[in-house]
Symmetry: C2
Subunit: 207 residues, 2 copies
DNA sequence: GTCTATAACCTGATAGAC
DNA sequence: GTCTATCAGGTTATAGAC
């Protein structure tokens, strides 16, 4: 193992910093993290952050774009897939999103926080203006059940998938649920949400 | 209108600071707000914050407790009310919570953020340990449908009520929905959520 | 490329005049 | 009680040695 042949475990300095930044920024947010926290987390000196990334803000920007792409890059293709049925979309979205969030439990809160700080950002990640209004998903809900506002339905669907992760720390404390049990619940949820969504679609619309 | 008879509009200095603190802290969170922001928002000098509240942290603590009590003080009594049916609880919770959040749209995000920063806090606001596990709501769901995990159901119910408000800025940007239209949607939602929750309770449980 | 030392700046808190 | 001016400490960013 010569010095120039790094093992898989040890990344380049630049990548070490990015990895540390991902971790600290997602946990504490932009304002509450100090560049020193990131340097320490990376096991490196503070000056290197500026050497590689010029500023805290630029480093954050890189992490932020990554996270946004992860969050929306999964969601939008499913919602706008013209070759799957609405029922398939419910199953794909629920199962895939919960898997994604199980490996990235802090992702939704980070994304929601960032959108609140800067709502204009969201337009960079929705492919085009009125993307959602014109999406296949919205059309399919409209065809299935004209009296139902498809955006109301989507809000509920997303809420059922995402909210448990936003609420995770509080929920676990309140119900004495450890990570293992929480994971089991979320896996179970992959089947519950499509079933429940279909029940909602079938339910009589209230006056 | 003598000097000593203030009009309803102008509050005491102390109350002006608190009101400004509520506004800025809820919008930007603890770390991102500077005491100078609060002073400016209140139209007062920075030194007065420390005169009245000793420190940024103490001022934040006061605002935070208020918000937590507002958030949980409404939820817990409904969930644990022994003299209402499960169906009534669904209706009361949905209607009441959405009304609360329409006048306090930033409340859920603030509370969720605070719980993430300090999960132990939540135990101060849940009246006793295992409050939720032993609650009337959980018992009633269990009686109604033994094969359904009542916590899964509660997560969905809360998600449907709360998530739209957490997502509000992004949703509005993405769908070109102004505040007036958003409010209409949420009022409509007060009827949708109980109907949908009941449909979930009636739906066949997936294997 | 990586480090130590330090500059430049920002922020919470206080002193002291009014 | 309220203000201006300032301090003390912490934080980002950089200079310069290695």
């Amino acid at each position: 193992m010569a010095k120039k042949t790094p093992m898989v475990a040890d990344l380049s300095t630049e990548e070490k910093i990015k990895e540390a930044a991902r971790k600290v920024f997602t946990r504490k947010g932009y304002s509450a993290t100090r560049t020193r926290d990131i340097a320490e987390e990376a096991g490196l000196n503070l000056a290197l952050l500026n050497y590689y990334f010029r500023s805290k803000e630029k480093l954050f920007g890189i992490v932020m774009v990554e996270k946004m792409q992860k969050f929306f890059g999964f969601l939008l293709p499913i919602i706008n897939n013209p070759s799957t049925s609405l029922e398939s979309k419910l199953e794909n979205l629920s199962a895939g999103y919960i898997d994604l969030l199980l490996t990235n439990p802090d992702l939704p809160f980070f994304v929601l926080a960032e959108i609140r700080n800067n709502p204009d950002l969201i337009t960079n990640f929705a492919q085009k203006k009125d993307f959602l209004r014109d999406s296949v998903f919205i059309k399919q809900v409209r065809e299935k059940k004209t009296e139902l506002d498809p955006f109301q339905f989507l809000l509920s669907l997303l809420g059922m998938c995402i909210f448990p992760f936003v609420m995770k720390p509080g929920f676990q404390k309140l119900t004495d649920t450890d990570d293992q049990k929480f994971k089991q619940m979320m896996l179970e949820r992959k089947k519950l949400i499509p079933a429940w969504s279909k029940a909602i679609l079938k339910a009589k619309h209230p006056l």
